[in-house]
């Protein structure tokens, strides 16, 4: 063994090719999936799917799911699950609806209060998981039912027996914060582009796509911020470490409990954001809001390269995972296939992703 600082590299290690390096990125599977699904729909679907309006069409549901999926991915990297995300959307939707409609509060109050309530419930989730040491799977499964039931009871309480709370659109109309959570952004730009014939327009001259739906911007923002946090901040390192081995992480001085609680708060707040956006969009909230979203969010994260065992994954992968999801959901309507193939497709993708991730993990850790 040599201590020479300029000692030659180990002769038994081949230099890694670009492809091998690429193979080690957790988001590779999701990007490959996007390419495959795109090719599939380019062949089978109506060409309208890949026009600007078609793309906005499938990105909108992708964005709503993706906001949840990215948060779920962060939590999964941190080694935990949150099965209560979907019910959290319903419950925070109820809170938001009551604040905005029943109490008539402006958005500047209603939205922060909704987010705070969500954060508190997320923290409770995390606290119970940490204190009991039980798997988060089972703890948040309990919250899945608790919050779903509470949403139903609460709705009936505040509406006098109905399971739908209406009148949100009227309540938020004219509020200066509304444009940030509903409708389309960059409307002026799109009109300008339409006038110059750069984007498609209707006969009247109005653009076919009036702007970028705000949820897509939230989705992109979330992917960028989470990727930055994961890869370029100490907190990101703590998340990977906590998910990889919380005991080892704690022994090295990582504040494991704080990391986990913060991640549970993140998933709850993501659910609240989706609730606010979709409730304003629909103008009402009901008890089925966010139904099954917890599973879709986890599938998104897994397609995005997250390992079920934690400690590995990426936010940008979940971003592409959500796009795959949106493309498949909406894309099938552009084809001759029966739309109900959707779930079959989804299950198959999930299985494929899990098998693929397993192979990748073995490559990364050098297991043979």
């Amino acid at each position: 063994m040599t201590t020479d600082a300029t000692s030659p590299a180990d002769e038994r290690i081949k230099s890694e090719s670009f492809v091998t390096r690429l193979m080690k990125r957790p988001e590779l599977g999701a990007i490959g999936g996007v390419i495959l699904v795109t090719i599939f729909f380019l062949i089978t679907a109506d060409s309208a799917m890949f026009t600007l309006s078609g793309i906005v069409n499938f990105l909108t549901p992708a964005a709503q799911l993706g906001i949840l999926g990215i948060a779920a991915a962060m939590l999964m990297i941190g080694g935990e699950f949150d099965l209560s995300i979907g019910s959290m959307v319903a419950f925070t939707g109820l809170i938001f609806g009551v604040l905005a409609v029943n109490m008539g509060l402006p958005l500047i109050v209603a939205i922060p209060v909704t987010l705070l309530a969500a954060a508190a419930m997320g923290a409770l989730n995390g606290y119970v998981v940490i204190r009991t040491g039980l798997p988060s799977f089972i703890v948040t499964l309990a919250f899945l039912f608790i919050l779903r039931g509470a949403s139903l009871v609460g709705l009936k309480l505040f509406t006098g027996g109905s399971t739908q709370l209406r009148g949100v659109r009227d309540a938020v109309q004219g509020d200066f914060l509304t444009p940030f959570f509903s409708g389309d952004a960059f409307g002026g730009l799109f009109r300008w582009l339409a006038e110059r014939g750069i984007v498609e327009s209707f006969g009247s001259g109005a653009p076919k796509v009036p702007g970028i739906p705000v949820e897509i911007l939230w989705f992109i923002l979330m992917a960028l911020v989470c990727t930055f946090v994961l890869l370029r901040t100490p907190a990101g390192n703590w998340i990977f470490a906590t998910g990889g081995d919380d005991n080892a992480a704690a022994n090295s001085g990582v504040p494991v409990r704080r990391v986990k609680i913060a991640l549970f708060m993140l998933t709850a707040c993501a659910a609240a954001l989706v609730a606010v956006i979709t409730v304003i969009d629909a103008g009402s909230t009901d008890a089925r809001r966010g139904f099954m979203k917890e599973f879709e969010a986890i599938i998104t994260a897994v397609i995005g390269g997250c390992l079920l065992t934690g400690g590995y994954g990426s936010a940008i992968g979940a971003f592409f995972g959500a796009i795959i999801f949106g493309m498949v959901t909406i894309g099938l309507t552009y084809t001759d296939f029966d739309q109900d193939w959707f779930q079959v497709f989804l299950g198959a993708m999930l299985l494929l992703a899990v098998v693929f991730n397993n192979v990748i993990r073995k490559r990364v850790t050098g297991e043979r």
């Binding site: 290690i13 390192n237 990889g244 005991n247 022994n251 090295s252 590995y312 990364v364």
Partner: protein, 258 residues
């Protein structure tokens, strides 16, 4: 000879009615490797956990750099400069060497948003590992791809880089092959050369003899005295660890192979 960095005097530790340690005296000087030998159940683990702040002693005194001190938590001990590399190494296989190296102590850059200074972390990791004689393929190589000996070396390099004055190694060679063991022993020698006091816990007399300056044998919660290198041979140490007679009787039938 220089003064000890840490001196543990007549340490006793009781767990309920179990007497785990019954008067252990031990010290470490800078730049030496002091081996703590003992069979399974002799109290080695309890003792190092007392030294690293996990347990508080029931009785006895700890002097750190000449002053009496009591550690309330492992953090206290770590901050004082006592680093422990436990057998599980506190390493995460899925994470890169750099991320493991700086886990919990990431260097940051930027004032408003504290970014993880990845470039500096990578450079430091490559450099520190090279000093220990390991050429990493790349700083983003996952720890899972390293051999057991290399992982042990990463853990040691990390502790030394973060300013360990006393480095406690809990059976660092017990799960390693011949070649990897010699690498780890060479690493211990290198660390000792930098003036760090090394506490090497083992039940393998040959590994201890290869690198130790002093040897203390622990048996049934008590120290049986400390010997300096050259004053004692492997067979004597072996006998002390096993408590004398019993092993002697066994040895007859095994032809002195232990």
């Amino acid at each position: 000879m220089s003064d000890p960095i840490i001196h543990m005097e007549n340490i006793k530790k009781h767990f309920g009615n179990v007497i785990a340690l019954n008067g252990v005296t031990f010290d470490v000087r800078p730049g030496e490797c002091h081996c703590l030998l003992g069979d399974n159940g002799a109290g080695k683990s309890t003792f190092i956990k007392t030294m690293s702040g996990v347990h508080k002693p029931t009785a006895g005194e700890i002097f750190f750099e000449g002053k009496p001190l009591s550690f309330d938590s492992p953090r206290d001990a770590m901050e004082a400069g006592i680093a422990t590399v436990f057998q599980d190494l506190a390493m995460i296989p899925l994470m890169s060497v750099t991320r493991n190296f700086f886990m919990g102590r990431e260097p940051t850059r930027g004032r408003v948003i504290k970014r993880f200074d990845v470039d500096r972390a990578n450079a430091v990791t490559m450099e520190e590992m090279r000093k220990m004689g390991i050429n990493l393929r790349a700083p983003d190589q996952a720890v899972g791809t390293l051999s057991g000996g290399e992982r042990q070396t990463v853990a040691i390099a990390r502790a030394v880089y973060f300013g360990a004055k006393v480095l406690i190694l809990d059976e660092p060679t017990s799960a390693l092959g011949v070649r990897q063991t010699s690498n780890v022993l060479a690493t211990i020698d290198r660390v000792r050369g930098q003036g760090v006091g090394v506490v090497f816990i083992s039940h393998n007399v040959r590994h201890a003899m290869a690198v130790g300056d002093r040897f203390t044998v622990l048996n049934r919660g008590q120290t049986l005295g400390t010997a300096v290198k050259g004053e004692i041979d492997a067979a004597e140490l072996q006998d002390m660890m096993a408590g004398g007679q019993e092993l002697a009787r066994l040895e007859g039938s095994l032809g002195g192979t232990i």
